[in-house]
Symmetry: C2
Subunit: 205 residues, 2 copies
């Protein structure tokens, strides 16, 4: 049978709601994300989501968590697929980050916009993102040992890289870069330049 008659119980409504939430954000932006619209898209009553999420913030948090998981998975996969050179691996996971951010702008927005949650919830974010940060620190240390990056506190270097990458991605996703630069360069060219700049700034001369 292809389409089972819509059972009273959806089967996996939770996933369906998360999926719908992403689509809504893609279609209408983060402020179009409304519990009722999500329920509508999932084909259930407006109060059904409350059986799976405490409130709107909880839904958003779940989307964020799923986003971090997907990003982490992607990064790990690309890292594993890279050669044995640690620098290649580091570069691969960094590229995976960028690729995720620009390929799933809906996810990235929710994950980092910070304006969607009422107030709480920021703490549970920390938990999710800390692991990736730790990984980055050890990667950076390795690059230092290999004489590629300047000696120094990897934490500071990590923040510098994250700032640049996050800033670039945020501006790009908000369409602010193409406005300024025009059509003279492709986004890829701009991205390459920006990344090269920050790495140049951290590399040994």
């Amino acid at each position: 049978m292809t389409a089972a008659k819509p059972a009273y119980h959806h089967g996996d409504l939770r996933s369906a709601l998360l999926q719908a939430a992403l689509e809504v954000i893609d279609d209408t932006g983060p402020q179009g994300l409304t519990i009722r619209e999500v329920a509508r898209r999932a084909g259930v009553s407006h109060a059904a989501p409350y059986r799976h999420f405490a409130d709107k913030d909880d839904l958003i948090l779940a989307v964020v968590e799923q986003g971090f998981e997907l990003m982490h998975t992607n990064m790990m996969a690309d890292k594993a697929a890279a050669g044995p050179d640690p620098l290649d691996q580091f570069s691969a996971s960094g590229m995976a980050y960028l690729h995720f951010a620009m390929h799933y702008p809906a996810y990235y927005r929710v994950m980092f916009s910070g304006d969607l949650l009422s107030s709480s919830g920021q703490d549970s974010l920390r938990h999710t993102s800390t692991a990736a940060f730790e990984q980055m620190l050890t990667d950076l240390k390795l690059c230092q040992r290999m004489g590629i990056l300047r000696e120094g506190d990897t934490m500071l270097q990590a923040v510098a890289i994250l700032s640049t990458v996050h800033g670039f991605v945020s501006l790009a996703n908000d369409n602010r870069i193409s406005h300024l630069v025009g059509a003279e360069y492709s986004m890829q060219e701009i991205q390459d330049f920006v990344l090269a700049a920050i790495f140049q700034g951290l590399a040994v001369q």
Copy 2:
């Protein structure tokens, strides 16, 4: 007389509403920004704002515009106050940008969050921010001529700097940096390192 009796006509309700909007954002975050709350704080009826702003987006746009103006003013003032050295001037206006962003997080959020507006309005943003960008380009060109920055397209360099600065400020304002770094460094130290890194990456060896 100290407090004049509240006249039927407020006098300058528009400014009062913009002011109130900022306070709301400061107090409760951007998603606490509601027309009615703003009206409440200004001491007028819930529909009064509609005499000055077409809708919520229009109010937000006005806040954004005012923010850009204030930032621009600050940058120009600090630039003028700097010495005659063009590099000093450029540095001063850049610092003013950073200072504004971290001193008025409410303004900065609304100006760059992009998640607040329903959909339109992004175009009117362009107008406001383009002037500052042009200024930055000529400043960068000057630095190139002085042999401080590498020769090349100033547009790319500008995007690199903006990415780093915007990323750092966004992360800092969302409290994401102190979470990661802990108390080991002051925000000032981190900021100095990050800025030095991107400039190092663009400078002549």
